[in-house]
Amino acid sequence: MRTRTIEISVGFFMMLGVLALVFLAFKVSGLTNLVGNHVYYVTADFNNIGGLKVRAPVRMAGVRIGQVTQIDLDHKTYQAKVTMAINNADSNIPDDSSASILTEGILGANYVGVAPGYADKFLHNGSKIDNTHPALVLENLIGQLLFSVNKGSEKKS
């Protein structure tokens, strides 16, 4: 009888451990595609990606449609080549859509925003988004601002 209680409680313990793993996997880390591959890959070349990182979200109209999977430097054009995995559910993105690097809030992380185009053809696995806008780098912006302010004051004097 005692061995039976021990066996049951050990089994219960194991089950609890597995349940905890399931909880951590699905509720905490939001793992949804266990087998994966419900995605297709699209690339885009940017002049400057700012602080974009791998696994950053890809959004269209603010809705998450995929994530960045790879960032490389193109050694010929010196542009950043960003590979994105887009969910298969969103397979009707026009061919001439544009991609830009945006920031969540003022100090938030970067993400890729896709704005739809008007073409009848859709993006497919391996296609490339040609129309891209680089990230706004705050330092450059401030530099330009100072430059124009200086120019203005020179004209006045």
């Binding site: 409680s9 313990f13 905890a20 905490v28 696994r55």
Partner: protein, 260 residues
């Protein structure tokens, strides 16, 4: 002077000797011919005393650590109007660091010391020797199931600890302090990654389990067979395994952060 240097050298040699014995002991136990069907009932018994009996302390301390993290984190985050990020803060710190480390420390205190004392007492009362006399291999009968039970139990305990702690954070943050539950979970899910965070935590707990149980069992097996010796061995188990856990945690974190 010479005598002191001699003593120092002796200590060094003793240290190396202990290390060597511990390694050989581990190898001898692990490389034993596995007799699965006969080991299994022993393993279940040990899992009970090592795992199930540690469950209470793990769950209670996990709950309180999660609640404290929720409370502290909320008070800091609310200054930056970022209290919705509490879920991220609690989940990441628990899953990456606190879960594996605190669970391992508690495990060393609760189960490691018990293992050492049990095996040490068996040695002191010559049970191990008499077992060898009647032809039962004590490494197989006593040591091996305890070793394996520890390896299996600590990762499971760590998972339970992390889950309970996150629920504790949820309890304080959402139920008590009134953060929106939806943003609590969704912010958490957006930042916590299964492979990088959860699996790395499990890897840590596997390493800790291995080290803690190894130290505990070896200290028991190597104890001086007197009552003072057993008490010293138990102390050593807790001290050494705590140090090993904290040191290894740093090394493992450095390796994992370095894109390993």
């Amino acid at each position: 002077m010479i005598a002191r240097m001699q003593a120092l050298g002796e200590q060094g040699l003793n240290f190396c000797g202990t290390f060597g014995r511990a390694g050989l002991f581990l190898l001898a136990t692990l490389l034993r011919r596995p007799r699965l069907i006969r080991t299994f009932p022993l393993l279940v018994n040990e899992l009970y005393s090592v795992g199930v009996l540690s469950l209470i302390i793990i769950i209670v301390s996990g709950l309180f650590i999660g609640m404290v993290l929720g409370l502290q984190g909320y008070n800091i985050l609310v200054d930056f109007a970022a209290s919705e990020k509490l879920g991220t803060l609690v989940a990441l710190s628990i899953v990456r660091e606190l879960g594996p480390v605190v669970a391992a420390l508690l495990f060393a205190g609760r189960a490691g010391s018990a293992l050492t004392a049990e095996i040490g007492l068996m040695k002191a009362t010559e049970q191990l020797d008499s077992m060898e006399m009647i032809g039962v291999d004590p490494l197989w009968r006593i040591i091996s199931p305890r070793l394996w039970a520890g390896f299996i139990a600590l990762p499971l305990l760590t998972l339970i600890f992390s889950a309970v702690a996150i629920l504790g954070g949820y309890l304080v943050g959402v139920q008590w302090l009134g953060i929106d539950g939806g943003s609590f979970w969704s912010n958490m899910q957006a930042t916590v990654h299964f492979r990088e965070d959860v699996v790395n935590g499990i890897i840590k707990s596997l390493v800790f389990g291995f080290v803690v149980v190894w130290i505990a069992v070896f200290q028991g097996f190597d104890a001086v067979p007197t009552s003072a010796g057993i008490s010293r061995a138990t102390t050593k188990t807790v001290v050494y395994s705590s140090l090993a856990i904290l040191g290894l945690d740093f090394v493992l974190t450095a390796m994992m952060m370095g894109g390993w």
